[in-house]
Each structure stands twice: as C-alpha cells, then as structure tokens.
Amino acid sequence: MPGTALTGSRVRERRLTLGLKQATVAAAAGLSPSYLNLIEHNRRRISPAVLARLAAALSVAPEILEGGAGAALAEELRAAAAAEEGTEAEVSAVEEFIGRFPGWAGLTAALARRSGQLSRAVEALNDRLGHDPHLSASLHEVLSAAASVRSIAGILAETEDIEAEWSDRFHRSLAEDSERLAIGAEALVAYLDGSDDGREDAIASPQEEVELWLAARDWQASEEGLDQLASAAARALARDLAIRAARDAAVLPEPAFRAALAEGADPASLAARFGAPIPDVLRRIALLPGSRAGLVLCDASGTLTFRKPAEGFAVPRFGAACPLWPLYTALGSPLRPVEARLQVAGQRGRRFRLRAFCQPSWPGGFGGPELREAAMLIEHDLSPATGPLPEVGSTCRICPASACPARRESSILTLASSLTAPSL
C-alpha cells in the first residue's frame, strides 16, 4: 500500500494551500467528504488509485503526496529559492511546478546543486592559496629572487660612479638571482601544472588534504576539526596523526622537551633521556607548536607518507623524492642515525642540516613481514660555512643539478638554467 504515515497530512496541506474545501476535493476525487477527512487525519491508508485521483484533484504529482523523491525534490527547490536573496520564485507552488514540469524541476534542482559545488570549490581554492605550504614556499622563492634582481639592477643602472668592486659583486649577484628566478618560476609553473588535474578542489590525495589541513593549524593534529576534511580517508589519516601526537605529547612533554632542546641535546640523547624511539623525537621536534623544522616520513618502498616542508627545502607533491636525501640512506641502514649538512641545488648559500633514522617493526611477530618507517628532520644549518656542501634536490623533474649521478630523469629546468646563467 502506497503512502507513508503522513501522506494524509500532505493531502490536507496541499488542499489548504490551494484554498479548496474538503467537499470540493472529495467530489473531484470521487470520495465522500467524511472519508477524505479520515485520510487527511492519517486514519486511513490510501490505495494507489485513490492517491492518483487525489493528486489529480490537487494538481500535484502523486510522489509529492507520498513524500518520496518528489518531496525531496521540492525541498531542494525550496532551499535553492531560499539561497538566492530577492528571488521571485513562487515557493508556495513548488509542488505544482514539479507535478506539471518534472523535467524542468529536476534540471533546476541539478543546476542549484552544481552551483553549490562550484561555490565550495572556489572557497577551497581561495583557502589553498592562503594555506598551501608548497605554493607559499614557491612564491616566496620567486619574490625573493625578483626583489634582489630588481634592486641590484636598479643600483647598476642608476649609480654612475659605482666602484669596480661593488659593480663586480652586484653583477655576480644578478647572475645568481636571475638564475634562481628562472628556476623558481619554472618550479612554480611545474607545481601549478601538477595541480591542474581536473578536480574541483585540485587536491590530489587524502594525504595532501590532511597536510593542507595541518598546515592551516600550525601542524597540530587533534580530534578537533576533523569534520573539516572532505574525505573519509583523510579523516582516518588525520585521526591516526592525532593519536600519535597525543602519545608524543605524553611521552615527550612540551616544557621538559623544549628545555632539553634548548640545552642543545641531540635527538639520540633526547630519545635515551625520555625513553622514546628516535623517530618519535624527530617528529616531536618538527611538530612542536611554532616549529620551523620540516619533516618527511617514508615507508619501506620509499613512498613519502608525511610531508612538512621547511622554508627553502621543497618536498615533492608527486613522484619520488631525491635519492640523495639522508632519509633513504637511513632507510637502507635501519637503527643507524644518519646526519648530513647539505644545500639545495640552485639555491646557493642556503644550507640545511638533515638528520634521519629508520625504525623497523615486526607487527606480525617472527613469522610476519618486517616493516620500516624512516623519518628525516629538516633544519636550517646555522653553523659557520666552511666551503661548498654536497647538493640535493626535491625531485629530478624540477632539480637543476644536471651532473647529478643519481638523476632518474631529465629536468625541465635545464633550459632555463642554460639561458640565464652564463650571460653575465
């Protein structure tokens, strides 16, 4: 038997909306007024034939009176009308509209849904421009190089009596920064190209969604705010990170941990002092509130499972990272601390201290597989420079180190470098 418990109420509501008397509708539907009264008070279930006659008498689709898909459509259309300020849509006649023009009603609701989706996508893109650490770092690189080029070019053009020593120095700086500008611009283009994957929100994976979410909250993972994540997979990832963060905070309490760090304690000695695994200490250093250190984690396949970039040290969004990272040295030598002082190819003068450690585990016991997780802490090296350092990159595709023995594929930056470097 069709009709839900409240079908009668919808019949009554529709009749009153049209301003019709019970007797008039009953006559049009071939019912007695007393029977219609029982129906309207939900004391009689309605047969399909009676429902059809009542719907015809009330100029409405039977589905509307049934409260099924038609009612949902009516709700959607009412919501669409309410969302548009100053609309002149005849909201009171929505059921009649659906009944008379079901195709147009469905199309209107679909367009309203699409409009809502696009509005949310625009909001997400706006939010991304403000919070995406990768994009922010790339833009900062370009703007810094542009600032230097503009200022130095101005000096050279406007200072007629510039000393030879200063002139030589500024010409060298100009060559360096024009190269850096070209590389930065190419990297930015590569990044933005990578973002153009046809999806509305341009977020490539749940991992990236979580990283953007964390970046917007100073990398503090907690249960609070999980509902801001769109996908269930992202929420699950974020929940795991929140659990880890809570555990880290309990084992490595912030005041004592900060005090030990201020003493200059090494991660290995901190691990011994607090009774925590070294990777947990590296993670805690990078994820302390306000920390500027970067952190990457990878599994045994080398896949980056967590990425917090440090300023000036780009971490790839897609594909494999630079094989020269100490992260991978550690991955191949579990339980051995690996430390290296390096600089990023194409960024002269910027030095980094990288410390990595790999922790194996056997969750399935003796009979199960060995799992590995390696962590690498990325910090600016503030010690006095003692000469050039070995170079690493982000990923081969956007790395300018043309003579790198570990290169997997050619770089899109080769052309930019060759065009700008030697001319000055």
């Binding site: 421009l129 600032a147 200022s151 101005g154 500024f170 700086s173 000036g312 503030l382």
Partner: protein, 130 residues
C-alpha cells in the same frame, strides 16, 4: 651621517643591495642574517630604526618584533617589515604587533630610501605604508 639602521635579512643579495643603497644615502647599516641575536644587537648598536624581514630561517620576524615591543627600551623603536605579496595574514599580525611600516618585495630602491627617511624622521610610529 643620517643615522644607524639595523637590517635583519637572510637573503644575502637583498641585504647587500639594501646596505649599498642606504649607505649611499648616508646611513650606517649593520646586517644580521637571522633574528637570533636581534635584541642583543639592538642593545649593542643602538640603531635609529630596524628593517626586519618577515620570513627568517630560525625565528619569525613577528617574534623579533614582539620581543622589541615588549622591551620598554625598544618599544618605540621604528621598525619596517619586509614582506612578500600574498602574506596578508602575516601583515595583519605584524600590524597588530606594532610594526611602523611595510615594504613589499620586490621594491624600488627609491621607495626604500624614502621610507627609511620618513620612518626615521617621523615621531614614533610613522604612518608610512610602502
């Protein structure tokens, strides 16, 4: 001599360029490549104003600014902040923290010199917005 400027900027080439153009204008410029020793250097060298990069490697320019404003001896020291376009939220935070003037990267050398002159000449926190 026009006065003393403390420049805190980690980008070596930008720092060199600013030092050059301000020196030519008669300023005595001290350069720091990080914010770590900012307060100590201010105490030692007694600058007339500070040019502070927002994004420093070890410590945010906002932290340095907050420390200067918290110290009664430097609470009114004129501070110009160097920012990149698109750092709207950071700029708002710097304004709340009491910065006197912004200079957006990339900048014109003449604008930098004019802003430094105005900042040094103005009483307390000048309303300079480069």
């Amino acid at each position: 001599m026009a006065g003393k400027v403390l420049l805190i900027e980690d980008e070596t080439n930008i720092a060199e360029a600013i030092r050059f153009i301000l020196s030519r204008d008669g300023w005595q410029v001290t350069v720091l490549a990080s914010g770590e020793r900012a307060e100590a250097t201010v105490r030692e060298s007694g600058p007339d104003l500070v040019i502070l990069d927002l994004m420093l490697p070890d410590r945010s320019g906002l932290d340095v600014l907050a420390a200067l404003r918290a110290d009664p001896a430097t609470t009114d020291l004129p501070v110009m902040m160097l920012t990149a376009k698109g750092q709207g939220r950071d700029r708002e935070a710097a304004e709340r923290a009491g910065v006197d003037c912004f200079m957006t990267k990339p900048f014109a050398n003449a604008d930098m010199v004019a802003a430094v002159r105005a900042l040094a000449a103005g009483p307390g926190r000048a309303a300079v917005r480069a």
